[in-house]
Symmetry: D2
Subunit: 338 residues, 4 copies
């Protein structure tokens, strides 16, 4: 940590900072001349609160050296993480489609969608059994029954399952049903849940929180990784801003930034990102062009009758059009669609 003193900081103020650090049990070493003094803080300890030091007289800025996340950091682990599943591989050489309905509504629609997807070469199915809903009066998902349906879909079609877990008590069941366990936007900082899935044998798809910075997101990944589960996949799904022309603001610029800071794969969810099926195709293509490793995308056999998020779901014909365009585009970027 570095403590930057004001240009006009007095010797007494510099002294004050060093004494304060001393009380915390860490050493501060002043460097630089009178016009620009910095105090280097040498400590192996975590948990020194930089905001406190910031408030001391004469202090201008406190700079942390190094990222708070280690396991997720590309500085420490330069090679890209590749998640290999029996059905598909997620990493820099592929472009992975995870598609399906927002919610598992019944077995027929789930099966029909999975069969359609498999016929198109899509090997991972998304569908929620537990649904986080803003209103207590909205459809909350089929719960265990939904997981059972997903299990039969997997058995019959061979498709891999990606489904959300909302609380610690359901992790066992979701793990059993899923090939990838999803942590939703609203739970990105549900630390109890993160700790629980850090002991899971399944990869974790970690959606970005509605107003999470990149650092907070990677710290959430670090929760999972530091508990022993290194197989984390990031998913950008739009953040909350003042803009009102789309449901959320899909922040594609986080893709190159995340790729630089960490070695994890990153997917894009243009369905939640835009909230509008007419905008899903352009933003899906833009995600691929921006460097994403795949998509999480809502497809429904009959969007107008979907129990949730029908407005942002593609029907099978629209999905086919998208797939066509993605295939062309993936070739330009040397990625293999899977």
């Amino acid at each position: 940590m570095l403590v930057v003193m004001a240009a006009n900081a007095s010797e007494q103020e510099v002294r004050g900072v060093i004494d304060f650090l001393d009380k915390l049990g860490v050493a501060g070493q002043p460097v630089g001349g009178p016009a620009c003094t910095t105090i280097h803080v040498v400590s192996a300890r975590n948990g020194i609160d930089s905001r406190q030091i910031r408030l001391l007289p004469g202090v201008t800025q406190v700079v942390r050296d190094g990222k708070a996340y280690k396991l997720a950091s590309r500085d420490h682990y330069p090679a890209d993480t590749v998640i290999k599943l029996p059905q598909a591989s997620i990493g820099p050489d592929t472009f992975t489609i995870i598609a399906g309905p927002c919610a598992v509504e019944n077995e027929a629609m789930a099966m029909r969608t999975a069969e359609f997807l498999m016929s198109r070469g899509v090997r991972l199915f998304r569908g929620g059994a537990y649904k986080p809903r803003t209103s207590p009066y909205s459809f909350q998902g089929l719960g265990q029954e939904g997981l059972d349906i997903l299990g039969r879909v997997r058995k019959q079609t061979g498709i891999g399952i990606v489904t959300e877990v909302m609380d610690v008590d359901h992790v066992d069941e979701v793990e059993a049903a899923a090939d990838i366990v999803q942590i939703g936007t609203r739970n990105m900082q549900n630390f109890s849940l993160l700790k629980r899935v850090s002991r899971s044998s399944k990869p974790v798809l970690l959606k970005r929180g509605l107003s999470a910075t990149l650092d907070e997101w990677l710290m959430a990944a670090e929760y999972v990784m530091s508990g022993g589960n290194a197989r984390v996949i990031l998913c950008e799904r739009g953040v909350r801003t003042f803009a009102d022309h789309s449901r959320n603001t899909l922040d594609l610029s986080v893709i190159p930034a995340a790729k630089k800071s960490c070695h994890l794969s990153i997917l894009v969810d243009p369905s939640h990102g835009t909230g509008n099926r007419d905008h899903v195709m352009p933003m899906a293509l833009a995600g691929l062009a921006a460097g994403a490793d795949g998509l999480l995308i809502e497809v429904h056999p009959d969007p107008p009758r979907a129990l949730s998020d029908g407005a942002q779901s593609l029907d099978f014909g629209q999905f086919d059009l998208l797939l066509l365009k993605l295939t062309e585009l993936a070739a330009v970027f040397g990625r293999k669609l899977n």
Copy 2:
């Protein structure tokens, strides 16, 4: 629900909307002349997805009539909710201080702080046993040991306890230790947790999410209330914006807006709201002036040595100064400090 058609919408487009509604099993009644057609949707059903209808050809806007929350709404329950505890009363005639350290660090400091507060007439103590921390490497709270300490603090001093619960599995213990159960910012939309505390016998202090709209916040309250626990207290603690001069942007304007929409009490947390103890006093006073029913505020016997959030904690002397000013101000607004 009202579907507003474009000025130049064709008869066929109007027909299309009505047919679409018909497929969903609800009736649409077109009203208004050719220059401005509206379709009134008559339905008792929840869960019609207005975004879908918005995407139909010729549709300009879809307007929901009525709020999605009912139990929290002032339209339905005009009288202010007053939460009466043995120690204090939270409502429109009082101004309630809930004070204490960010985290329970050990018994001595918790006891000392509680005794100080009781000596000043403050009857509710805040202090975290379970702490949500951005980094897995930061101090995570004492857990059950912290709750035990809080129990002894309550027993010895008589002060009421407000403490956070972070997951469903700990609700029993937290309920036993607390007079008010706190749901933190990051859990405002942890729906499993909301459902669990909706069956609690203790009042719930519900902090606003980092980027929650007022409606989403009141829907979260509705989760608690619709499960049977009507004793919800709101707490504004700053939202996330582009502004970088304070840790969060304390949104005091939500106070009059919330008071108009719902009948619940609303507190302000100027400690998290500003992240800077120098700004706590002005924002605490501003909260009272804006119509808040009380404060959640961090006080620590030795802020520089606090294990978390020391930068935003007042020491006892600063707290005394604040109390003095609050007393004067509360008199102007006809509120009794408690």
Copy 3:
């Protein structure tokens, strides 16, 4: 305009709204049954303040029918606007590159950059003579001398010139020097300036304001168009959000939304959008994939020595790499690079 009454609005409240409208000289016609009353407001007048009516007792929502912009609206003018210049054409069939340094620093560098660009088939040159700078102590541009340089660059190389005008007093000179006049982000709602360029014979490149909604942006375009200059080109350059991993948040999702609402072309500025040359290429490609009609991009012969925005400028080698990739990608989308 539609005034939606609350479900429990009294007859007297409905009456109150109609009387209020009457005082404003417009007629209100109540429609719908008791459970859901709407008042249709029939008026040719602009300037009825919907927020006022919103505050009347019993009113739930006020809905405007139709957009406030007319000339920019695709509802009124469905065909895409194509801007034809001697050097290049901007519209749905092309992908137009406007490249060059942030500021014109001296004649040699401007000439060298223009010659490089022409050799690569780029026909439009960007470069600021007047520079809006946050600090009064930063380099403010060469002013008239910069315009003179641009004139010589155009004469010698044949490249078209795009340059910013910052105030009404300089419009004449900028118009004389430029093929496209640029209105910068900070001036998107400088209405005096918009009115002045609405009388210009040159097309106007209108950058989105730092926190402008799509509607506000199109209303700014309407200022230019309603004054008689229909040749407006939009340019997305990043908006301000909480996100701190890039200088601004490039909002590519505004592209499909703008294309739906208006008939104007829209460019993307990935240089200002990201503030980081390493992220320019992915976001430029993503812009093309999202449906943009071209790029505004910073190129500098020696970015480390640039007087402004060197961090986000590509050098010639990097620009060549980008061009290569853009060419491949444009082919996929059936657009001709120019």
Copy 4:
């Protein structure tokens, strides 16, 4: 400036930074040990682009020492600026009300309002002759006729005039008519206009931009001050965020932060800040409690018939109620209402 190197930065990377600085003509001095190297940049030159250095290999952070604004900074000028006008004084010991209609609509209403205000002891009148409006089709103000009316209002009642100038060409006339010249939100970074009013003999009321950081706002003040006009008054009027319960988010926490960073007075505009007259009183009182030096507030003899912003204007009775409460509150804070 300080360049903080990554923990694992190589000697070559440190060398690279120093060489880069050398090319820019400034010296870099490495300090600190191998675990944490910092490079101190010693230079009197402005305009070194820190973002460029940030992108060099091995660099983690670049820290500027000192604020970019000097004349506005409290570090350099610790004493509070007091603006003394014949009618009123703006500074830390007073609480100054500037009230009046959004726009000057006609002489009768302006005169009536001014007389009412003078009878209540309010000595500064606000009212726009030039109005910035989002739509070109909205009422744009009376222009010179409005200024003439303001002149007669001042002459007849003795009230001081605060009115907005929107462009360089009108500054002479506005200066002649006004006691304080207002720069509106949309023009906070209209640098040409800032430079022009920096040569004015009248104080400048500088509203915060819709998404301006505190530093940007103070840099805009610096534009005015560095041109020779030290009499700048800040005015917070709400910023743009995701929140939709009020027109803007009134950021009262900027008051203590601004007071710490600069020596200028700061007012609050609760009318634009909330957009809703029902919320004006609580937020006006909260502004005073948070440390503001006064209010800019909309009052209209007949708000329902106001040509602009009627929804947020108080009528005379509401203003009297507010004044009563402000008087009580000002006493608590030792401020004299004027």
